[in-house]
């Protein structure tokens, strides 16, 4: 478990945009990744309610899905997003950390299929879900 966290931390710190948004790795291994994004004022999309912008949730989902692909044992190395769909079920509660968890549920020699869920403190009701396809690099 300790090296999974270390791997996740290294992964996030190498991505300037993820650092900018304040993403924090939770775990990463065997095609599953979890990343949190604490609330901060710069991420707000609606200044009246203080709700986080959907674009910031997208960035979190994209990072988390990419991390899940990168740590899948069948993937040779890096990955890039082919497409990503986000469904926004509800506004994230202002002030709460958003946690995304992504699973790479199928992988071929060229494509990885991923789904993800984003939650705030109310873990019964997801804030958003995502499904995406990512590139796969050949193993050397």
């Amino acid at each position: 478990m300790a090296d999974m966290t270390a791997l996740a931390r290294q992964f996030i710190q190498a991505l300037p945009h993820s650092v900018m948004l304040g993403m924090q790795p939770q775990e990463m291994g065997e095609g599953v990744a979890s990343i949190s994004m604490p609330y901060k004022d710069e991420l707000v999309g609606d200044p009246v309610t203080g709700v986080i912008h959907g674009g910031a949730v997208s960035a979190l989902m994209d990072t988390c899905c990419g991390a899940a692909v990168m740590c899948h044992p069948e993937n040779g190395g890096g990955t890039a997003t082919i497409d990503l769909r986000i469904d926004y079920m509800r506004a994230a509660t202002p002030g709460q950390t958003i946690v995304a968890r992504a699973t790479c549920y199928h992988i071929t020699r060229s494509v990885a299929f991923v789904r993800a869920v984003a939650m705030d403190d109310d873990t019964e009701n997801p804030v958003a879900t995502a499904t995406g396809a990512f590139t796969v690099e050949a193993k050397r």
Partner: protein, 174 residues
């Protein structure tokens, strides 16, 4: 034929339109955080995301983060949709956004879903985007967005999104 009223001076029109656009875009902290700007030709908007290091996802290539591109496209879609939704009221002088505090601005459309196709690697330079509203209903809207960098014809990303429109403003005729 009734006599036509004298057209407004062009500077007055430009000031009003640019002021309204600025008010809409500047009210959103996340738009300012990413540094996204809008240019206007008549009612046509172009989103611009000037390059900065913090937008990078893969520092080895280097390439823009999929998340900065997704946010750029979504922001362009929402601002364009809102702009077109408010246009008639702005033009008719029923609505004046300049100098309004955020809480007095009209409510934004809400994103239901958003799908991004990443067509090419996002290069470490400025990106541009334009949105096309393919359906503008009273409650729901569908928007397509295209983004490019060096060549308008070589898109680096495109997206499709669905939105719920805000409830009609009760002071629209006031």
């Amino acid at each position: 034929m009734s006599p036509r009223s004298k057209p407004e001076p062009v500077q007055v029109i430009k000031q009003r339109r640019d002021g309204a656009l600025r008010a809409l875009a500047n009210a959103v902290p996340y738009i300012r955080f990413l540094g996204i700007e809008f240019e206007r030709r008549g009612d046509e908007l172009t989103g611009i995301m000037p390059f900065k290091q913090e937008l990078i996802g893969n520092p080895l290539l280097p390439a823009l983060h999929g998340g900065s591109t997704a946010a750029f496209l979504e922001i362009t879609a929402v601002i364009t949709l809102n702009w077109s939704y408010l246009w008639d009221d702005l033009e008719a002088g029923r609505l004046n956004l300049e100098g309004l505090p955020p809480e007095a601005l009209p409510r934004l459309p809400k994103t239901v879903d958003f799908t991004v196709d990443y067509l090419r690697t996002g290069l470490p330079r400025d990106a541009y985007a334009r949105a096309r509203i393919t359906r503008a209903g009273r409650r729901y809207a569908s928007v397509q967005v295209e983004a490019w960098q060096d060549n308008r014809e070589r898109l680096y990303a495109q997206a499709m999104g669905h939105f719920v429109m805000p409830a009609p403003r009760d002071n629209a005729d006031g």
